[in-house]
């Protein structure tokens, strides 16, 4: 077993906070490494691509997929990582000029470790939308809860590249959810909008590192990051590190975070309709993920998330 260093923040802070990076236990010797896969979407096309995991005999797996989307194409990528084995999934996406990519990812685990790495490069006037659902499932009795790690880097390389990110998570039991997001604004007038919503139950732990980096020359760029954490368990641990790095004058960056129980206003609205606090909390926990379903285009995608949600939280 070795410790792999992952999810490193571009700018470090105090070590005692233990947020600068994460370590994942990995047995590289017994790892099944799949051949890299390359998918090219030629110009002016519209496509839907499904990336599924392959069930294997090996405990440790890794798989790398690269997708190139040529100019003016429109692609939806659905990556289903509801893992039964420990998995490292690498996905690289190159988005050419005027192309649009929407990536929908389900990251779910019962008792395994999942490491999801996504690297995206965006050219002029391209558009990248990422919808990620992190769902910690119930493991079989006696087994540990799963650990889900995710590392997303988006380079907005050229003018007017746009990135929209919606993430929802649900953690329970001993789940560890550990995310690192880095958005590099290189081009002028680039834009990112990050919304993260989640709920933590029981003893679950979550780390969210989100960095918006305005590089010199990225004038006219705008970046916004917002996280809402619903704390539902007595023993939950939430760490949030929302970083903005800036070496360009003409930019605007904002971030906000709100961490705690259900806010008074929402609770009052629910209660004024006769819904008690516990029910309201359950509804809102589910809502963090349900919100994402509303952002999906086809039934198959919606079902993927809905079914997993039902498995974990029961009927709506």
């Amino acid at each position: 077993m070795t410790n792999l260093n992952i999810n490193a923040m571009p700018a470090k802070t105090w070590h005692w906070l233990a947020v600068n990076d994460a370590k994942i236990k990995w047995d590289s010797n017994s790892e099944e490494i799949y051949a890299d896969e390359l998918i090219v979407v030629s110009e002016n096309n519209k496509e839907e691509i499904w990336v599924e995991d392959i069930a294997t005999q090996k405990e440790y797996n890794s798989k790398k997929v690269k997708i190139e989307v040529k100019e003016n194409s429109e692609v939806t990528v659905i990556a289903n990582h509801d893992v039964d084995n420990n998995l490292r999934a690498f996905l690289d996406i190159d988005i050419s000029k005027n192309a649009k990519v929407k990536l929908v990812q389900l990251l779910a685990s019962e008792d395994k470790s999942l490491y999801n790495e996504v690297k995206v490069s965006c050219r002029e006037n391209s558009n990248f939308e990422l919808v990620q659902a992190f769902i910690g499932k119930n493991p079989d009795a006696g087994k540990e809860y799963g650990k889900i790690y995710s590392n997303v880097t988006v380079d907005l390389n050229e003018d007017k590249a746009d990135f929209k990110y919606d993430m929802g998570y649900f953690g329970q039991g001993d789940n560890l959810l550990d995310y690192n997001l880095v958005v590099n604004h290189f081009g002028k007038n680039t834009n990112c909008d990050i919304k993260v919503n989640g709920a933590l139950k029981d003893k679950s732990q979550k780390v969210f590192r989100g960095t918006i980096d305005f590089k010199k020359g990225a004038s006219g760029s705008v970046g916004a990051e917002n996280e809402t954490v619903l704390m539902l368990g007595e023993d939950v641990v939430n760490k949030t590190v929302p970083v903005i790095l800036c070496s360009e004058e003409e930019v605007s960056g904002t971030h906000g975070a709100s961490i705690g129980e259900l806010d008074e206003e929402t609770l009052f609205y629910f209660e004024s309709r006769g819904i008690d606090k516990e029910t309201a909390e359950n509804i809102m926990a589910r809502a963090s993920i349900e919100r994402l379903v509303g952002l999906m285009d086809n039934i198959k995608e919606k079902e993927l998330i809905e079914n997993t949600l039902q498995e974990v939280l029961g009927d709506a």
């Binding site: 004024s272 006769g274 819904i275 509804i283 809502a287 963090s288 509303g294």
Partner: protein, 249 residues
């Protein structure tokens, strides 16, 4: 009096350190329609929130009797289950919770049992039709991206589905165009007919009252009720304004 649904007795309410209501007395009987008017900032919405049970509004004196029982110390959700409904001036947006799921959960809490999905959907669909609301709104996230009019309709939809005994409408007509006011007003009329419920309508205009028969009008100023009368008082205020009304006394 047995047929009194709501009795507000010498009610004092603070928001933070500030006293807003300074001894309000007001009684609403069963199946009655009351209108509450008054200049901005006199405590009309505060009264609505206090009846509904918003924890931010501190009752420092007096009592609220609903259906023969003091509800002043009762939690919000219990009051709702007893049959008090407040239509919000600015309904909250809740991403991830659909309008339909929200109403279904509310009904389930009220009745203690889960309505069959099919029956629920049927009733919801019918009720939405009464309000000329697009069915698609049922599956949209609660109030998210709704226009002002759609939000108010969604409130009236909840009113019709939950069938409370008392509905407090807090400026439900403000900021709406003529058609939307008509739809909302019609919705309120249906509520009266269907549920024989009582209404306390906080408003600035008569438009919303057109389809209704007003039993009593209350005028509030600086935290107290200064005048009461029948429906003709509404017209008097609209034509003369609050100042003149006071001067004429």
């Amino acid at each position: 009096m047995e047929n009194n649904l709501l009795e507000i007795k010498d009610l004092y309410v603070n928001v933070g350190e500030k006293e807003i209501l300074k001894g309000v007395n007001l009684t609403v009987g069963s199946n009655e329609t009351h209108v509450l008017m008054g200049p901005n900032g006199t405590g009309k919405s505060t009264l609505g929130y206090a009846i509904c049970g918003n924890p931010r509004y501190d009752i420092t004196g007096g009592d609220i009797i609903f259906d023969g029982e003091s509800i002043k110390d009762m939690p919000v959700n219990e009051r709702a289950k007893k049959g008090i409904f407040l239509s919000f001036q600015n309904p909250l947006e809740v991403p991830g919770v659909t309008l339909s799921a929200f109403i279904r959960s509310s009904l389930e809490q009220k009745t203690g049992q889960r309505m069959k999905l099919w029956d629920f959907k049927k009733k919801l669909k019918e009720t939405m039709a009464l309000l000329s609301m697009d069915e698609a709104y049922a599956d949209r996230d609660l109030n998210v991206g709704f226009s002002g009019g759609e939000k108010k309709k969604a409130e009236i939809l909840q009113l019709l589905m939950l069938e409370p005994k008392l509905a407090i409408l807090d400026e439900t007509d403000s900021g709406l165009d003529v058609d939307a006011v008509r739809t909302v007003s019609n919705g309120i009329k249906i509520f009266k007919e269907r549920c024989e419920g009582s209404l306390l309508i906080i408003t600035h205009s008569t438009k919303i009252l057109e389809a209704l028969t007003v039993d009593t009008t209350h005028i509030m100023e600086s935290g107290v009720i200064v005048k009461e009368g029948d429906s003709s008082l509404v017209d008097e205020i609209i034509s003369k304004g609050f100042e003149e009304l006071k001067a004429g006394e």
